[in-house]
């Protein structure tokens, strides 16, 4: 067993893809670095914080990327985004079996302003292009920096999201909410609250992530292989699926919109002991959640 959380992006790749199969596009030796950071006299990274390429997953050709949360919080700059977009486009050109994105990002790299914003929106469009070509896109979130901002939205453009409890997925990050709306709205220093609200278990109970695994690289790999098999054949986004999602979100607001804390959401879902949820191991949690998960088709039970 090896922790997914503790590894760097570059270390995760050989654990998740078939060993020795991954070929990197624009490797660090190519030195394609951010032109914006140099202008600001800030440190650059030789891969601009993301590994992109093509490998094998259980013997199938799967394109992939891994964002490095340690470099500027995994934030997406112009080069970082262009690498993701280029990889996604090539996955379509070469008829990939699937795309697997190991995301860890605070969203747009603010240093790069509009270039970063445009990059993130291009990534979203490229993900939907891949799906439109009938190629499933699977996202894994299990790094210490979570998946926030534009990359949080990008994650939900995928067919399936795999998370660990330690992973976090949301739009605005805790500090952003507290800064904009005050500590009464959200106390970003309250780590238990932050994980209750954005962590893998809450996302799973609400149906925002479809697979919850323990913080273990083998578990992530097995889940990715299964997710690819599940999503093959229904990769493209349909109008019906969009309308079902919209309906689910409306039900969520009706059912939970006035709840001040996820504990209240879990209570309304029928979870017998909401306060005990954060302490459950993955297996015990999944057994409990099988009875009480909101799931994609439900919402206010």
């Amino acid at each position: 067993m090896s922790s997914y959380l503790e590894l760097s992006a570059r270390q995760r790749i050989p654990h998740i893809f078939d060993a020795g199969s991954f070929v990197e596009f624009l490797p660090p030796g190519a030195r394609v670095v951010s032109p914006h950071l140099a202008q600001l006299d800030a440190p650059v990274s030789f891969d601009d914080g993301v590994v992109v390429g093509r490998g094998l997953l259980d013997g199938q050709v799967v394109f992939g990327a891994a964002q490095e949360g340690g470099f500027m919080g995994g934030a997406v700059g112009e080069v970082h985004g262009a690498k993701l977009v280029g990889m996604l486009g090539r996955a379509v050109d070469e008829g990939a079996h699937a795309v697997l994105l190991l995301l860890e990002s605070g969203g747009v790299r603010l240093h790069e302003a509009n270039a970063g914003l445009i990059a993130v929106s291009e990534v979203m469009r490229a993900i939907l292009d891949v799906r439109a070509a009938g190629i499933p896109v699977i996202v894994a979130v299990g790094g210490a920096n979570g998946c926030f901002g534009g990359m949080g939205i990008a994650a939900r453009c995928a067919n399936m999201v795999i998370m660990s409890e330690e992973g976090r997925l949301a739009m605005s990050g805790p500090e952003v909410i507290e800064t904009a709306n005050g500590v009464e709205e959200f106390d970003s220093k309250d780590r238990a609250l932050v994980w209750r609200t954005t962590g893998g278990k809450h996302r799973y109970l609400l149906g925002d992530c479809q697979v919850l695994v323990a913080d273990d690289t083998d578990a992530f790999r097995a889940a990715a292989i299964a997710a690819v098999a599940d999503a093959r054949g229904s990769a493209a986004l349909t109008l019906e699926a969009l309308e079902a999602e919209q309906e689910m979100l409306e039900r969520r607001i009706r059912g939970f919109g006035d709840a001040a804390d996820p504990l209240e959401v879990w209570r309304r879902l029928g979870v017998p002991e909401p306060a005990a949820v954060p302490m459950l191991e993955a297996d015990a949690f999944l057994a409990m959640a099988a009875q009480h998960c909101a799931g994609p088709g439900t919402g206010d039970r």
Partner: protein, 104 residues
């Protein structure tokens, strides 16, 4: 930011294999890109560091590194965000070992 250049001659060990990157550019950490290069037998190291004014310390750490490994025809490029000398030494050793597969 400060950019520092070092060159060491009289090394005896060429670097086998492909370029490798170890470490991450984050607070107190650094990334090291190591690759074989035709440098007339020399080992060249370029450091881009966010901590200004530590040139003498870098030089001492690099001199120790060269003493340990005696590399020739090798290019090393470092992006640093204030790593301590001990961390730099460990990362440099990790970089070489990622290419050679073991300690000297």
């Amino acid at each position: 930011m400060e950019t520092l250049h070092f060159r060491f001659d009289a090394g005896s060990r060429p670097l086998p294999g492909a370029p490798q990157l170890v470490g991450v550019v984050s607070s107190g950490n650094l990334e090291v890109l190591i690759e074989p290069a035709a440098l007339n037998g020399g080992c060249e190291i370029e450091v881009r560091t966010a901590a200004n004014g530590f040139g003498a310390t870098w030089e001492a750490v690099m001199r120790d590194f060269h003493g340990r490994w005696q590399l020739m025809d090798t290019r090393i490029c470092i992006n640093d965000m204030g790593a301590t000398p001990a961390v730099v030494s460990l990362r440099l050793d990790q970089a070489v070992e990622s290419v050679t597969g073991g300690p000297p």
